[in-house]
Amino acid sequence: MKIRLLAGILVLGLSAVGCGGATVDTSTTSSAPAAGSSASAEPAGTVKIAINPWVGYEASAHVVAYLLRNELGYNVELPEIKEQLSWEGFETGDVDVIIENWGHPDLKEQFIEQKKVAVEAGSTGNKGVIGWYIPKWMADEHPDITDSKNLNKYADLFKTSESGDKGQLLFGDPSYVSNEEALIKNLKLNYKVVVGGSEAALIKSAQQAQAQKKPLLFYFWDPHWLFSQTELIRVNLPPYTEGCDADPKKVACDYPEMDLDKIVSKKFADTGGKAYELVKNFNWTNEDQNAVADDMTNKGMSGEEAAKKWVEANTAKWQAWIPK
C-alpha cells in the first residue's frame, strides 16, 4: 500500500516537471526542508556553502555561516565537497557558495564563461600562496638547501619507506591545486610525490619534523595558523612569471601569489538577496582567518564556537559586511 502511494507521488513528481526533457539544474533544491534550530522565526532561505578540506577555508565558511544564521536569519548548510566537485555543484544546485577559491582559471573559464552557472563575488581579502617548505632546522644546517637547484644534492636526506631511492615530497589532499609532478619532471628533481591524503597529515609531519629534527620537504600554503607555531622555510623554486604556468604539463616555476576570491552560483547571485550581499561584502585579513583556524584546530572549538568568538570580538569589521 505504502509503496503504491509512494510510486504515485513519484509519478506525479515526474509529470510535474513536464515533458520538455529535464536539465540537471531544474531540481528544486531551494525547497529542501529546513532543519534550523529555531522553529519560531520563519527562515529567510537556505544557503549552501561548500566546505573544502582545509581549515582556513572552514574558518571563513563558519564566520559567514554564523552571520547568515544569526544576523540575517538564514538556514545554512555546509556540505563537505572537494574543490573541483564544488564547481559542479553550482550546476546541480548542491552548492551556492565557494567562500575561498584558489585560482582555478580553467574552472572559471568553463563554469563562468561557458556554462554561465557561476559568477565571481569578489576577493576575500586573503592573499594565498602555495609552495614547498622545509622545517627551519634544515635551512640552518644546510643554508643552500632553500634553492631548488640544490635539492638533488640532499635527496638522500628525504628518503622514506614510501619513496624508495628517491627523496620524498609530501603532498596533502588529492583534491588540492597541484603542479608537483610536473615540477619534479621539468626541474629534473630526484624526488617522488608521496600523498599524505589530508591537511592533518601535512601538519602532523611538519610538527614532528621540527620537534624531532627529522628531514621533511612538503607542500604547504599561506595563510595558515601553523606558521605562528612552527618555523618553516620556503624552498625557492624558479620564480613565477606571468603565464609560466599556462600549460600544466610544462610548469617549471613557483606558484604565484593569489588573490583568493569567492565564487557563487548564478542562481544565488540573482535570487540570494541579502545573503548574497553579505557573501559579496565578506572581506578580512590573513590574521583574522588564522585566528579562527587556530581556535578550531588547537583550542578544541567547533567551527561555530570559533566563529562566534571572532564575531563577538570584531563587531566593527563584520558590521560593514551586513547589507543595509
Partner: protein
C-alpha cells in the same frame, strides 16, 4: 625457463617437487636476465586516460542538450531526488519525538518488547552521540535506496526464481555488481547522475540490489513443487499460483532479502558521501580529512547501531509465524508509543536537545594522541620492518619484471590451480590491464593485496583454529567479529592512520581487520565440520592434539580454508582500494584522484576498471583451488 620444465617432464620419473622447483628456477633466471625490460611504466598522460577524460568533458558539455540525458538520465536523477526530498521532509517533520515513537512502535510490533526497547535505545543513541541530523539524513538516504532496490529487485527476483533462463542471464550481472569495488563505479555514476543525494542513492542501490534479487529468486525457487503442482492442477492461473502459493510460501525468506538489502545499503553510507550524499558518511570523511578519530568514532558507532536496530527488526519479522496474530497488548503498547511520539512533536524541539549529548570527540582524540606518542616507536618499527622486508622487495620485483613474465607466471599458476578456462580468463584480465596503461600501478596494488592476504590468512587461521578448539574463546570472539564486520570500513582506517601514518602499511592493516572476520568464521566452521567420529577415531588411535590438528582437522577442512583464502582476497582488494585515501597509492589513489581532479578523471576511471580486472583475475586463480581438490564441492556449487 621453458627448457627446464620441458626437460624435467620428459625425463625419467622425478620427485614431485622437481617441476615446481624447476619452474621457479626458470622464472628466477628469466627475471635476472630480462629485469628492467618491457616494464610498462606508468604515465599520467597516457592516451587511454586522456580519451576518457575527453569523453567526460563531452558528456559534461552535452548534459543539457543530449536526448539521452534530457529524457532519460536526468529524469531518473530528478525522480530519485524527489523521493529523497519526500523521505527527508517526512522524517524532519516527525522530528526526534516522532521518529523515536514510530520506530519503537514498529520494532515492538515486529519483535516484542526486547526489539522495541532496543529500537528506542538505538534511536536515542543517535541523539546522545550528537549526530541526530546526520543520522536522519542517512536514514532518509538508506530508506530511498532500499525502497527502490526492493521495487526493482523483488519482481526481478521472482521472475528469476520462476524461470531458469532469466536466472542464468541475471547471475553474471549480479556477480559483476558485487565483485566490483564500490569505489570503481562512483566516477561513472557521478558522470551520469552528477553529485548529491540522488547519485548517492543510486550508488547505494547498485550495491544493495544483488542480494534482493538473489535471495528472492532463491526463496521463490525453493517453494515446494508439490504445492505448485497442486495449485495448477486445481485450475489456478499463473498469477494466482504466484500470488497465492509462491509468494506466501517464500515470505519469510524474502524478509531476509529485505534484511540483507538494508545491511548492504548501510555499508555504502560512507562511500556515497564521496559523491556528496548527505549523512553520517560526512562525519567519517571529515574525521579522516582532519585525522581526528574522535569525530569518526561516534559516526561509526551510530552506523553500527542503526544496522543492529534495523537488522533485529527485519529478522524478527522474518522469523515470525505468518499465521500468528499480533497480541492485543503488543498492539496497545505499540499504538501508545507511536501516539506518544506523534503527540510530542509540537511540544518538543524537532532537533535533539544539545544538553543531552555526550561529547566524546575530545576524550577519544586524547586517547589516540596518547597512543600515538607512546606506541610510536613500536608501530614505526613494525611498519618499517614489514615495508622494507616484504613490501618493497615484492613491489620492485613485480614492477621491474617484464610484463610478459608476470603474465606467464599468472597463466601457469592459474592453470595449475584452477584449470585452463580460469587461466585464460586470468591472462585476458592481465593483458587488458596492460592495454589500459595502468600496469605499473596494478603491480603495486597487487603487492599490497598479496601481503595483506598473507597476513589475513595467518591471523585468520590462528584465530579460527583457536576458536574451533576452545568454545569459550569462540564465544568471546564472535561479537567482536560481528562488530568488525558491521563497522564501516573507513572507521578502521583512522586508528591505523594514527599509528602508522599515511603509508601502504596503513591500508594493509585496515584491510586485514576487514578481511579477518569471514576468514576466521570459515576456518572455524570448517574445522568444526569435521565429523566427530573421525576425530574420535584419531584420538583413539593415540594422536596428540597437535597431530589431530595437522593430520586430521586441517586437511579435512581444506575446502573451507581455501574458500576462506578466496574470500580474504576479494575483501582485501575492496579495502586496499579504499586504502588509496590513506597512502596505499597505486590504483586506489588513482581512483580517488580521479574524483577530485577533473584532469585525472580518465586515469581514475581506468584504474577503477583495472581494479575489477585484478579482482576477477585473483578470484579465478584461487577459486579453482577447492574445486580441483574436492569433487564434493562441484555438487554443492
Amino acid at each position: 625457463m621453458s627448457s627446464t620444465t620441458v626437460s624435467a617432464s620428459s625425463g625419467f620419473r622425478l620427485p614431485r617437487w622437481a617441476i615446481p622447483a624447476g619452474a621457479t628456477i626458470g622464472f628466477v633466471a628469466a627475471y635476472v636476465i630480462f629485469r628492467g625490460t618491457a616494464t610498462l611504466p606508468h604515465d599520467d598522460e597516457a592516451p587511454q586516460f586522456l580519451a576518457v577524460t575527453d569523453l567526460r568533458e563531452w558528456i559534461d558539455d552535452h548534459r543539457n542538450d543530449n536526448p539521452f540525458f534530457l529524457y532519460f538520465l536526468n529524469y531518473i536523477r530528478l525522480g530519485v531526488g524527489a523521493l529523497h526530498t519526500l523521505f527527508q521532509t517526512v522524517l524532519y517533520a516527525l522530528g526526534w519525538p516522532g521518529i523515536t515513537g514510530v520506530m519503537g512502535a514498529l520494532a515492538w510490533l515486529a519483535g516484542g518488547w526486547r526489539t522495541g526497547l532496543l529500537a528506542l535505545a538505538g534511536v536515542s543513541a543517535f541523539g546522545v552521540l550528537g549526530l541526530w541530523q546526520s543520522s536522519v539524513d542517512t536514514l532518509a538516504l538508506v530508506g530511498v535506496a532500499v525502497l527502490l532496490s526492493l521495487v526493482i529487485g523483488i519482481p526481478v527476483g521472482v521472475w528469476a526464481g520462476l524461470s531458469a533462463r532469466v536466472r542464468r542471464t541475471v547471475t553474471p550481472v549480479l556477480d559483476v555488481m558485487q565483485i566490483m569495488p564500490t569505489f570503481a563505479y562512483l566516477a561513472p555514476l557521478a558522470l551520469f547522475f552528477h553529485i548529491g543525494a540522488p547519485a548517492g542513492a543510486i550508488a547505494t542501490m547498485i550495491y544493495a540490489i544483488p542480494p534482493a534479487i538473489r535471495i528472492t529468486a532463491l526463496a521463490v525457487a525453493q517453494v515446494s513443487p508439490t504445492a505448485v503442482e497442486a495449485s495448477t492442477s486445481l485450475g489456478a492461473t499463473r498469477w494466482q499460483t504466484l500470488f497465492k502459493v509462491h509468494l506466501p510460501l517464500a515470505r519469510s525468506t524474502m524478509a531476509l532479502a529485505v534484511n540483507q538489502t538494508i545491511m548492504m545499503a548501510l555499508s555504502m553510507v560512507v562511500i556515497a558521501n564521496l559523491i556528496s550524499a548527505p549523512g553520517l558518511g560526512g562525519d567519517i570523511i571529515r574525521g579522516l580529512s582532519r585525522a581526528q578519530v574522535g569525530i569518526m568514532l561516534p559516526a561509526g558507532v551510530a552506523i553500527v547501531v542503526m544496522a543492529v536496530v534495523l537488522d533485529r527488526m527485519t529478522l524478527a519479522t522474518a522469523r515470525k509465524d505468518p499465521r500468528a496474530r499480533t497480541r492485543r497488548t503488543d498492539l496497545a503498547v505499540a499504538g501508545a508509543l507511536a501516539a506518544a511520539g506523534l503527540a510530542l512533536i509540537p511540544v518538543l524541539p524537532a532537533v535533539w536537545p544539545e544538553n543531552v549529548t555526550i561529547d566524546v570527540v575530545a576524550p577519544v582524540n586524547d586517547a589516540v594522541r596518547w597512543a600515538e606518542e607512546n606506541w610510536y616507536a613500536v608501530t614505526t618499527g613494525i611498519k618499517d620492518v614489514t615495508t622494507y622486508a616484504l613490501l618493497n622487495p615484492l613491489e620492485s620485483l613485480l614492477t621491474s619484471a617484464p610484463w610478459w613474465l608476470v603474465a606467464l607466471a599468472a597463466l601457469i599458476l592459474a592453470w595449475r590451480v584452477s584449470g585452463v578456462r580460469a587461466a585464460l580468463t586470468a591472462l585476458a584480465c592481465l593483458l587488458a590491464i596492460a592495454l589500459l596503461g595502468v600496469w605499473e600501478h596494478t603491480m603495486q596494488t597487487l603487492t599490497t593485496v598479496t601481503v595483506a592476504v598473507l597476513v589475513t590468512l595467518v591471523i585468520g587461521l590462528l584465530l579460527g583454529v583457536a576458536a574451533a578448539r576452545a568454545p569459550r574463546f569462540s564465544a568471546i570472539q564472535r561479537p567482536l567479529l560481528d562488530a568488525a564486520q558491521t563497522m564501516p570500513a573507513f572507521v578502521y582506517l583512522l586508528p591505523a592512520l594514527a599509528l602508522f601514518g599515511t603509508t601502504r602499511f596503513t591500508a594493509i592493516f585496515a584491510s586485514v581487520i576487514y578481511a579477518v572476520p569471514p576468514v576466521v568464521r570459515l576456518v572455524e566452521d570448517g574445522i568444526k565440520g569435521v565429523p566427530p567420529t573421525v576425530v574420535e577415531a584419531a584420538v583413539a588411535a593415540g594422536s596428540t592434539p597437535g597431530q589431530l590438528l595437522w593430520k586430521v582437522q586441517l586437511p579435512m577442512a581444506r575446502r573451507a580454508i581455501l574458500l576462506a583464502a578466496n574470500q580474504g582476497i576479494v575483501m582485501t582488494l575492496a579495502m586496499v582500494v579504499i586504502g588509496g585515501l590513506v597512502g596505499a597509492g597505486a590504483l586506489g589513489y588513482d581512483v580517488v584522484s580521479g574524483f577530485s581532479q577533473r584532469t585525472d578523471f580518465g586515469m581514475g576511471f581506468v584504474a577503477g576498471v583495472a581494479t575489477v580486472l585484478l579482482g576477477v583475475m585473483l578470484d579465478r586463480i584461487t577459486q579453482g583451488a577447492d574445486r580441483r581438490t574436492s569433487p564434493r564441492k562441484r555438487k554443492m556449487s
